[in-house]
């Protein structure tokens, strides 16, 4: 508002002398403070104001005058000759030299110097004192440190009824979070009131999970989408597939319909590489592998039955327990089954029969983990029953490398993403083994007891340093391994690939030999058959029967004799001469052994001949 003061002055009074007079103070205007205006401002406390209290300085540059330098060489020609000697005249120089040589000093000096010099010359000849011993090898710093791992954090299941942690997945960016799936895998033994929640933990806060996921059925597996870190894919205990978006909350965003889902718990779910980043596939023990698009989970896009007779029959299907997919080989995937067989499949097969390429069998029990080596995808690791095995795709009949049979069942395994020769396995007795087969092949390089209960799952972080393992009581332990185990050693890639190739070759050679032996045996068997056919077919039945009887009785007699010999040994021996006795004993033993051997041979022969006799 305008503040205006108006006064009036007559024109005739302009220029008139001013007569000032005092007057009382008059309040012209009173503007009270308007507190509402204060709300447009925010109090600033503290207020930063820069002040400067220092000596003022100025900056100057100075440069010295350039110092001119020149490099020159000096060539020493003849010099130092005394004045009276002309260096060019040979006679004079020789004379001078001879004179010096007669000098006493010269003689003693040379004698002394000569002995020192000889010593050094001999030294040089004896040994090269400057020989470089370890020229080729650089200092191996990492080997000094023994492999070790330490627990960094422990995430316990906040629920009262503890459930086993069945799957762990690392957050794709930055690895700050862990998604852990909890469910009870014992058939129908889930205790009453067991919660079906699964959690996402922040590594910094082990006390409380960051996000809770509430599905309708407990989750068996849980995977972060490697392209989109907010999306998670989960396989449920009742066979459904569920998808979460962590931005949307803890209820699932999408769930597959029960009719089209698996009939058994979903044991493996993996995201696929696709342009949309929404494709995934899952496997379950009902023998099916299904492909899904998470935007439309009502129906799978494709179903393949794990039937190795290639007829896609569900009754013959093998239950799938682990699934493997490597983004660098997008058309192939592998399934590990409950029956101990690994099935390698091709996604691009036109008919379902073409989808199944080959099988690898070698385990006695379900294959709980299956992973290709990140550096050499042709080789893959399987973990099942009491061993861990490494296979090569070329060698189908057996694994190329395997660990010894352990005391406890192996539950999970994974390769290290940084070192091609290192892999980790977990066991039912709660130990985590770290294997480094460049360092040691028979035993794990490091064996750690993580907890007292069984460890069910294992996941290595992308930098190879951190490992998360989940246990039976829902405790997820975060471990950090020593530097030596997570830095690529010099030459390790070459060494590892050399080992793989060598073992593959060995297996191939063994396979070839086996095949040859089998062929030979088949040939022999056929040859025998031919011989028998050559025999006069006039051997009528009676003769055959009598022959069989004779052989039969022979066997019986030899057995009886053997039993008698044994019985004699056991009976308390009469006091004969000890030497004779021992001789007899020894003889008796030998005979018994021979007879046993014969008896067995005869038995085998005996078994065979009636069969042969049976053939016409």
């Amino acid at each position: 508002m305008e503040i205006v003061y108006v006064y009036v002055k007559k024109r005739s009074e302009f220029g008139k002398q001013c007569n000032f007079s005092d007057r009382q103070a008059e309040l012209n205007i009173d503007i009270p403070p308007n507190p509402e205006l204060a709300e447009q401002f925010v109090e600033r406390n503290p207020v930063d104001t820069g002040i400067q209290c220092s000596t003022s300085m100025s900056e100057h540059e100075a440069n010295t005058e350039r110092f001119e330098m020149e490099t020159r060489g000096v060539n020493h020609i003849e010099g130092g000759w005394p004045k009276d000697v002309n260096p060019l005249e040979l006679e004079q120089t020789i004379r001078f030299r001879k004179k010096v040589e007669k000098d006493e000093n010269y003689i003693s000096a040379i004698m002394q110097l000569g002995s020192i010099m000889e010593h050094c010359i001999k030294q040089n000849n004896a040994i090269d004192i400057y020989q470089e011993y370890f020229d080729d090898e650089d200092a191996v710093e990492v080997m000094d440190e023994a492999p070790s791992a330490k627990t960094i954090n422990v995430f316990r299941d906040p629920q009262e009824i503890k459930r086993p942690a069945t799957h762990v997945s690392w957050h794709p960016d930055g690895n700050r979070k862990l998604a852990v799936a909890y469910s009870c895998l014992n058939f129908q033994r889930a205790p009453e009131g067991m919660s079906s929640e699964s959690y996402i933990w922040d590594l910094e806060n082990p006390n409380r999970p960051e996000i809770t996921l509430k599905p309708s059925s407990p989750l068996v597996t849980l995977e972060y989408n490697p392209k989109d870190s907010h999306v998670l894919l989960a396989g449920c205990y009742n066979g459904q597939i569920a998808c979460w978006d962590t931005r949307k909350g803890s209820l699932m965003a999408e769930m597959s319909t029960i009719e089209f889902s698996h009939r058994d718990p979903v044991y493996g779910t993996i995201w696929l590489q696709s342009k949309t980043g929404t494709e995934c596939f899952s496997a379950s023990t009902d023998g099916q592998v299904m492909w899904w698009d998470v935007r439309k989970l009502s129906e799978p896009t494709e179903v393949v039955v794990m039937d190795i007779t290639k007829k896609q029959r569900l009754e013959h299907a093998l239950g799938a327990i682990s699934l493997e997919f490597e983004p660098t080989l997008p058309t192939k995937f592998m399934v590990g089954t409950e029956q101990g067989v690994v099935i390698s499949c091709n996604r691009k097969g036109k008919t379902p029969a073409e989808k199944i390429v080959c099988t690898f069998s070698g385990h006695h029990g379900p294959i709980y983990a299956l992973q290709r080596n990140p550096f050499y995808p042709k080789n893959f690791l399987t973990v099942g029953d009491w061993t861990a095995r490494i296979w090569s795709e070329d060698s189908r009949e057996s694994s190329i490398m395997w660990t010894k049979y352990h005391m406890a069942y192996l539950t999970d395994g994974a390769w290290s993403p940084v070192r091609p020769a290192v892999f980790f396995t977990t066991k039912m007795d709660g130990t985590l083994d770290i294997w480094d087969f460049v360092f040691k092949q028979c035993d794990p390089a490091l064996s750690l007891k993580v907890c007292d209960e069984a460890l069910f799952c294992l996941r290595v972080q992308d930098n190879g340093c951190f490992i998360a393992c989940g246990s039976q009581l829902g405790t997820t332990t975060l471990l950090e391994v020593s530097n030596g185990l997570c830095t690529l050693q010099r030459n390790e890639k070459n060494t590892a690939s050399a080992i793989f190739e060598r073992e593959t070759r060995r297996e191939k050679i063994l396979e070839a030999r086996h095949r040859e032996m089998r062929l030979k045996e088949k040939g022999k068997a056929e040859g025998r058959d031919d011989e028998l056919r050559d025999e006069p077919p006039a051997l009528n039945l009676e003769e055959l029967v009598t022959k069989a009887e004779e052989e039969f009785f022979d066997i019986i007699f030899t057995e009886l004799k053997r039993k008698e010999a044994e019985a004699m040994k056991k009976k308390p021996k009469p006091l004969k001469q000890p030497s004779q006795e021992t001789d007899e004993e020894v003889q008796g033993e030998e005979e018994a052994e021979e007879e046993r051997g014969d008896g067995e041979g005869e038995e085998g022969g005996g078994e065979e001949s009636p069969a042969l006799g049976g053939q016409p």
């Binding site: 020609i77 030299r97 010096v100 040589e101 010269y106 003689i107 020192i116 010359i121 000849n125």
Partner: protein
């Protein structure tokens, strides 16, 4: 006698020269004049001049660090051979050897 000693000197030098790997031997005096040498003149003169300076430098270095110390032997190992210098007050005995490798 001087004659005997002289013979000994000859023998010593001959022996040194005959060792395995020895390429050349020379005796140089304090002024850089080669007294005895088994190599050709120009090479000898070159070696004499350069090694003399180097030996002096080495000697003064050793003495600077510890005045009671003195240079006894100087060995220069190069890619091709080893030059060994045994200094004395007045003379330098220089041997060039190809160390056994």
């Amino acid at each position: 006698m001087i004659g005997n000693d002289h013979a000994e000197v000859e023998e010593t030098l001959k022996r040194i020269q005959s060792h395995k790997g020895v390429i050349g031997t020379m005796v140089v005096n304090a002024e850089g004049i080669p007294i005895r040498t088994t190599l050709d003149n120009s090479t000898t003169v070159q070696y004499a001049g350069l090694l003399h300076q180097l030996t002096m430098k080495a000697k003064s270095t050793v003495r600077d660090i510890d005045p009671q110390n003195d240079l006894t032997f100087l060995r220069i190992r190069s890619k091709k051979h080893e030059i060994m210098v045994a200094p004395d007050k007045e003379y330098l005995l220089i041997v060039i050897q190809n160390p056994c490798e």
